[in-house]
Amino acid sequence: MTLPSATLLAQSVLSGIFVGALYGLLGLGLSLSWGLLRQINLAHFAFAFLAAYLCYQLSAMGMDPLATLVIIVPAFFALGAALHALMARFAITPFNSLLVTFGLTGIVEALIQSIWTADYRKLESSYGEHRWKVAGLYVPLPELITLALAVGLSFAVWAVLRYTDLGRALRASAEDAPIAAAFGIHERRNALLLAGTCSALAGVAGLCLALGFTLAPSQIYAWVGVVFAAVMLGGLGRALAPLIAGIVIGVSEAVTMAVTAPSWAPLVSFALLIAILLFRPGRAA
């Protein structure tokens, strides 16, 4: 174990921030639906990958990757709302929502595999060619877009939850749905809206995945553990927490990789997750 140079370390921290922002963006929808809707949506990751492949396909057909959001966001909003309507219809418990959405993950994975095969795919776009050197550090454009989207959306969600009537109604329903309903909150409509939004957020995260990473159906599961760690570290149902927690994890992973070997990286996030769960189990309550 030799200490890397200052530049290498700084570059690691920077790439940690970038990947951490994506953890945060993926975690945002997960945290909202877990905390406010009491549904642990494992299919969130499958949705993100489906969006990523969609973005890949549309770009290959000549669309600008960022412009694909016009299609992806409404489509995934509808998908999420439909899924929630199904779960609500059967009054699924939080734990069973985990199992149902796992089943859904398998279906989406199979769908992706049958359309785009199990081979690795990489989105080729003009964005990938842009990178700047700032103070000796490389700053690639796709990662910068991810960071901007993650920060922008997290703050937007935070503001909505905090300052609007809709946000207050959602938080009230999460606390005590029957009482909230008795005060005239249209709980079912709000829940559909929120579930759709979470799914649309997965769609945006999928765009970032497509911009920055090579895609394969099996990669869906690679993100589950670390994003859950970010969600739990931040606390459920909060908008800014997943982003901050995601960046903390991303940076500690990147530094671990730079100081030791890349294969040690999972230890950081999972050891963190275990520590949080053991010492602050109330966070998940």
Binding site: F95, G103, S263, I274, L278, P281, A284
Partner: protein
């Protein structure tokens, strides 16, 4: 019942022996391998179910324990040249140790819930995988077992694996069945339904969960050990994944996770389903199919296939069991009544329980601010006070549901403060809950039998059921013995709570608002029952707002207000004191009202 009890293990062993002749048929090796996989998943799913299905703590870390066993065998064979069969006990031991260490830490976390437990155990899988891949155990390249000899148990290598898996599956099923009909199993099922209530009934929940996890891990470890040589080349990437836990969860849910044979049914179905898709070159469609099956199973059959089938066959099978259990008890019930110990409720009776400066704080809120209460042997002590005065907190402290912040509770000369609730139950204190908390998936009889077994220290479910029947008769619920608690009305549920509290034959019974919500006629029944409880020898502390009952039943009352002791003495006298009336009614009363009781009752109605 006995006959059935002996038939099940015989059926398991018989089937296994019959299946052991399979290789002699000389079928192509491919059948051996397919059947090997079926049996392999039976072992994994059934072993997982021993903890997770029975207690409801869904572990997503089965891959870690399976992988621990797998890498133990692989390392011992490849590096230390151990013969294959000798590595299997080692694999079981390592996996078991791993499970005990994880469980000892995880189960200590207060109030850990299903989702958190699932994520924690999943994280353990990846941590273990990361450690193994980065250390010489694996080194990142995987472990090859090409040079290891396969022992000649069957005629061919593939039949050897088949026979080993068959033996492992038979043992696993025997263990799973054995647990499900034992005292251990009864405790685990109670944890599934209501862990706090189980602990208060005397189930050592922490120890039981740990034992179940240890057994579960040891069996998974053996499956891993066998699978190491079957695979011949093992890598972390394929072992420490989310696939193993999710597949076993799916199999168990599909088959029915509360039944010992449920996971095996699911394992056979899923393995063959996946295989048939793979054989038809539709592996991807198979993956989707598994997803569809999982979703459909949870939405339409959350209890699994096996319980569903059982219910269809149910009525015929259930009736004789109930009848057999019902024959003798009524006689025993009268025996209990006759057996009544002499009543000794005089003021001079010695203290059975003495609470000294007992206090409880919830983050700055003083629920109980250091009270001294003495309960005398053989008396009925009423515990009164306005809402929020600390009555229920007192019950929760004495029964061990809460840990006291300060103070002591001495029962029959023994200090109980700070002890685990199940030890307090074993010491001879039973309680009821204000809102009844029966174990929802167990019959009324089994609900009571559980208390007899754990609080009362009876050794096995059969004896406990006989004891339970006497208490059901005592509470007038004998006709409802075989129904589920859901089918009882509130009155009957309250009486079930009483029967459950009595079945452990406690010396002290704590009753938390047993009358609340009952009609006047039902109250009379309950009052008569409480009196009979005392008459057959137990001391009773009872929290109550219904003054008519307090006046009729109690020898003494203590009154709490704002977590402090306000008054103590005979009910009729105490209730006239101005400070008591002030606490209850919130107003000054110039002249002591004559009866007061009607006013008090109205206040709390």
């Amino acid at each position: 019942m006995k006959l059935l009890a002996q038939r099940t293990p015989l059926a398991i062993v018989g089937t296994a022996v019959a299946l052991a002749f399979m290789p002699a048929l000389g079928l192509p090796a491919f059948y051996d391998s397919l059947l090997y996989l079926v049996l392999h998943w039976i072992v994994l799913a059934t072993s997982w179910n021993v903890l997770s299905g029975y207690t409801g703590y869904f572990s997503f870390g089965h891959g870690a324990f399976f992988g621990g066993g797998l890498y133990t065998s692989a390392t011992l064979m490849s590096r230390y040249d151990w013969p294959f069969l000798w590595t299997l006990p080692a694999a079981a031991a390592v996996a078991c140790l791993l499970g005990v260490v994880v469980g000892a830490i995880v189960f200590r976390v207060k109030g850990i819930r299903g989702e958190v437990f699932a994520l924690l155990t999943l994280a353990v899988t990846f941590v273990l995988g990361t450690v193994i891949v980065n250390t010489p155990i694996d080194g990142g390249n995987g472990v090859s077992l090409a040079g290891v000899a396969v022992p000649k148990i069957g005629p061919t290598a593939s039949s050897t694996f088949y026979l080993l898996a068959l033996a492992a599956a038979a043992v696993t099923l025997l263990v799973a069945w054995g647990i499900s009909v034992s005292k251990l199993g009864a405790g685990l099922f109670a944890i599934h339904d209501d862990e706090d209530a189980a602990e208060v009934m005397g189930v050592p929940t922490y120890r039981y969960k740990l034992v179940a996890l240890a057994i579960s891990c040891a069996l998974a470890g053996v499956a891993g050990g066998i699978h190491a040589l079957f695979l011949n080349y093992v890598t972390v990437g394929e072992v420490f994944t989310i696939t193993v836990p999710l597949t076993v969860v799916l199999m168990s849910i599909l088959g029915g996770s509360r039944h010992w044979a449920g996971p095996a049914v699911g394992a056979v179905a899923i393995t063959l389903l996946l295989y048939s898709f793979t054989a038809a070159n539709l592996a991807v469609a198979g993956k989707a199919m598994v997803g569809v099956v999982l979703i459909a199973a949870i939405l339409f059959m959350p209890e699994g296939v096996l319980p569903r089938v059982q219910r269809l066959l149910g009525p015929r099978r259930r009736a004789p069991v109930g009848a057999a259990d019902r024959v003798s008890p009524p006689a025993a019930a009268t025996a209990v009544a006759l057996d009544a110990r002499p009543v000794a409720a005089s003021a001079a009776a010695p203290a059975l329980l003495r609470a000294t400066r007992l206090a409880k704080q919830f983050r700055g809120v003083k629920a109980l601010a250091g009270v001294d209460v003495e309960v005398r042997r053989g008396e009925i002590l009423g515990l009164l006070g306005p809402n929020g005065s600390g009555k229920s907190t007192f019950i929760n402290l004495v029964s061990g549901h809460y840990l006291p912040t300060a103070g002591s509770v001495v029962f029959e000369g023994r200090e109980l403060a700070g002890r685990a609730a199940h030890r307090i139950a074993r010491a001879g204190i039973a309680r009821t809950y204000q809102i009844p908390r029966p174990f929802g998936h167990q019959t009324v009889l089994d609900n009571v039998a559980l208390a007899a077994m754990f609080g009362g220290g009876l050794p096995d479910p059969q004896t406990a059921r006989r004891e339970a029947m006497t208490w059901l008769t005592f509470a007038g619920l004998d006709a409802k013995a075989q129904v589920l608690p859901d089918e009882l009305n509130l009155h009957q549920r309250k009486f079930l709570e009483l029967a459950r509290a009595l079945a452990s034959r406690p010396r002290l019974v704590l009753l938390d608002e047993v009358l609340c919500g009952l009609t006047p006629a039902e109250m009379d029944d309950a009052v008569a029952l409480v009196r009979r409880i005392r008459d057959q020898g137990a001391t009773v502390v009872f929290v109550e707002h219904v003054m008519r009952a307090v006046m009729a039943l109690t020898d003494r009352v203590v009154v709490f207000d704002h977590g402090e002791l306000l008054a103590e003495g005979p009910a009729a006298e105490v209730m006239r004191r101005p400070e008591v009336m002030r606490a209850y009614l919130g107003v000054e009363h110039e002249a002591p009202a004559p009866a007061t009781s009607s006013g008090l009752e109205a206040h709390h109605a």
